[in-house]
Amino acid sequence: MLGGGGGRRAVAAVLRRAAAGGRAASGEGQGQDPDPGQGSGSGRPQPLEPSLLRFLVCPLSKRPLRYEEATNELINEELGIAYPIIDGIPNMIPEAARTTRKKPPAEGSKQP
């Protein structure tokens, strides 16, 4: 069972290896708990500064990201991870990223 800081770091380590090897992250797709400040109670999330999208890439793979308006996240399709945007500030720390898939590449569905 992944727990706390140690668990997130382990996932981040897996993602780093995957990014380096050019393969998507394998197996362990347990959705990380989203930051408590986000979502439910906070009403409309602040929009991301549009000019930032020019510069932002995934810190692990340095590849472009897709902005998903519905969940207010920045998605790296290849690695299957999503970076949250909280109060208009994108959280680009790998340990904070949510994995979006249970299974390797072929699946396109996201975690509920």
Partner: protein, 311 residues
């Protein structure tokens, strides 16, 4: 050193697997090799964690403490950094470990005045134009009071960014300014993007300075400039003793009185002593690939500005 780490171990023990990683530098390769936290010896993972907590705790009092500890002189140091940078309108700045926004706000002020001067110069040449033509030229420049200059503030600490963002709102900074939560050792920015990279009083808190320097090199455009403002080493022996006295006797006390946090400011003064001196940092910057690396001492080396170029 072991005794000093005990309370932290107890705290972290609740995180299950993390304890195993922290318990042994012998076994603890998962947590990373040994490094320092002030004068303590810790693993890399512990160090990152502790530093995160230091800034989490001091965030709200950060600016007040800077003013108290340096008697306001830090403001001059930062002004000097901006003058050295001398950004022209249209410059893209990445301010790493920029937390509460001091450098970013100064940058915006600087390019705004530079832009005003630019526009005034333009007007001088328009003296024989009709009012119609002059008002049209105003329209074009209407949305460009910064002349397309932009600053991205990147910091690893949520609390520091929060304070910075609130400050920006309070002081009326919005245009050309964005905030990103990111790691200096693993920047979420594409290659060859920025004109200037600054890190003011931040590189001391980075665990792998070599990685941060490599990332700085990566994200700068060719021709881009690296600028680092940081506490450094005082060679003058008399001044050095006075500085030590002030650092170790006064600063932690100020920390306790103003921020209610002796330990964080103890860490601060210790980390300054542990940080590489001017020449060593210069060598590290050169190792990352920068050219024309140089440094300028301020206040006899209490602070130094290192500069390098990506060619």
């Amino acid at each position: 050193a072991a005794a000093g780490l005990c309370p932290y171990r107890a705290l972290l023990a609740r995180r299950g697997g993390a304890l195993r990683a922290l318990c042994g530098s012998v076994r603890g390769l998962a947590a990373g090799p040994e490094t320092h936290f002030g004068f303590q010896t810790v693993t890399e993972a512990e160090r990152r964690e502790k530093i995160y907590h230091v800034f989490e705790n001091v965030a709200k009092k950060y600016d007040v403490m800077n003013d108290s500890m340096t008697l306001g002189v830090h403001r001059l140091w930062k002004d000097i950094l901006l003058h050295k940078m001398n950004p022209s309108p249209g410059t893209l700045l990445l301010d790493v470990a920029g937390g509460t926004g001091d450098i970013a706000f100064r940058f915006i002020n600087y390019v705004r005045s530079a832009r005003e001067r630019q526009l005034q110069q333009k007007l001088k040449h328009h003296q024989n134009l009709s009012w119609q033509e002059i008002s049209e030229s105003y329209q074009e420049d209407k949305f460009k009071s910064l002349g397309d200059s932009q600053v991205v503030v990147c910091d690893i600490n949520k609390e520091m960014l929060k304070v910075g963002k609130e400050k920006a709102q309070h002081l009326g900074y919005s245009e050309g300014l964005s905030w990103v939560l990111g790691d200096a050792e693993e920047l979420p920015f594409d290659d060859d993007k920025f004109d200037v990279y600054t890190i003011a009083f931040g590189i001391r808190n980075v665990t792998r300075i070599d990685l941060a320097l490599q990332e700085a090199y990566r994200v700068l455009k060719p021709g881009g400039r690296f600028l680092c403002l940081e506490f450094s080493h005082v060679s003058n022996p008399l001044l050095s003793r006075l500085y030590d006295l002030y650092s170790f006797q006064v600063i932690p006390v100020l920390g306790e009185v103003i921020a209610g946090d002796w330990k964080s400011y103890q860490y601060l003064v210790e980390s300054i002593r542990r940080f590489p001196p001017q020449e060593e940092l210069k060598a590290m910057i050169e190792d990352a690939g920068f050219f024309k690396v140089d440094y300028q001492n301020l206040n006899s080396g209490i602070v130094a500005i290192h500069s390098g170029f990506k060619l």
